[in-house]
């Protein structure tokens, strides 16, 4: 029989894993309709860009520190143990290759399609962060499935 702390850690880990996957999808979907921007940026587009920057930073913060920030040192240690650190590193590697691959594609596409620098950057960074989150969520969920308490 598990104690309360183990249940809390289990629920928090599941919540984090699902949140990572959902946030990745929402992040990409939210950008899909707003990639195009005019030069110079009009006011709504400038606000959209600012929001995207804040959102990106928040998601990166979640990816790195999401896990018991407000729950105390012991719970944080459990939620950020060896497997989680390994999953995070693997997720960042996937995000890295996603960024590089997308940047290569954008580089080639820019000679055939009119793309601004901001659109290019948003595409590359959005996909990089989304892939990292999806990877992290998938690895965590896979690891959590199995013999439950």
């Amino acid at each position: 029989m598990t104690t309360g702390n183990a249940d809390v850690a289990e629920r928090a880990a599941w919540g984090r894993a699902r949140a990572a996957t959902v946030m990745a999808m929402v992040f990409v979907a939210a950008q899909a309709g707003s990639f195009h921007d005019d030069l110079p940026l009009n006011r709504p587009q400038a606000l959209q860009l600012s929001a995207w920057i804040v959102w990106s930073v928040a998601l990166l913060f979640f990816l790195v520190w999401g896990g018991g920030l407000l729950r105390g040192a012991k719970m944080r240690a459990v939620l950020n143990d060896e497997t989680t650190l390994d999953h995070r590193r693997r997720a960042m590697v996937v995000g890295f290759w996603g960024a590089i691959g997308t940047a290569f594609l954008v580089f080639v596409a820019s000679f055939y399609e009119p793309i601004t620098a901001r659109e290019a950057v948003r595409l590359v960074i959005t996909l990089s962060i989304a892939l990292a989150l999806m990877c992290f969520g998938t690895l965590e969920r896979r690891a959590l499935k199995g013999e439950a308490a």
């Binding site: 860009l49 890295f96 940047a103 580089f107 080639v108 820019s110 950057v121």
Partner: protein
Amino acid sequence: MIADPVARAEHLGRARATLFYLLACAFVTSTVMGVHGPETPVRLGTWLVLASLVAINLTPVAGRFQPAAVTRLLNDETTRFHRGTSLAAGSWVSTLAGLVIAAGGLALDASEAARLIVMAGLSASLVCFATLELRAANG
């Protein structure tokens, strides 16, 4: 038959680290000089080939032209850990570069922005990997 795979792997590992530092310098120089420069097909094609070579060097594929015993040592547990760590570092640097470009309103086109992001990520990974490997070898 390799006389001493361990010694050969040690030598090649150090050489690889030194090469990575030089490659990072060459790649950064090439990319920065290309920004705002004439975008001729030769220049851009050369950059693409160079970037691809750098990327391949950051995968385990690059060390496969040695005998199996040496390849295994060149891609052992520590090296795999270093590779993962350096790619994660590269991810951070490329993301930061992207956010700075987006927020900074720099006078760049899409091709230049993409090249700068690739340069930032790949160079940071190369330098990080080389540093970790040399530090481990010198300990």
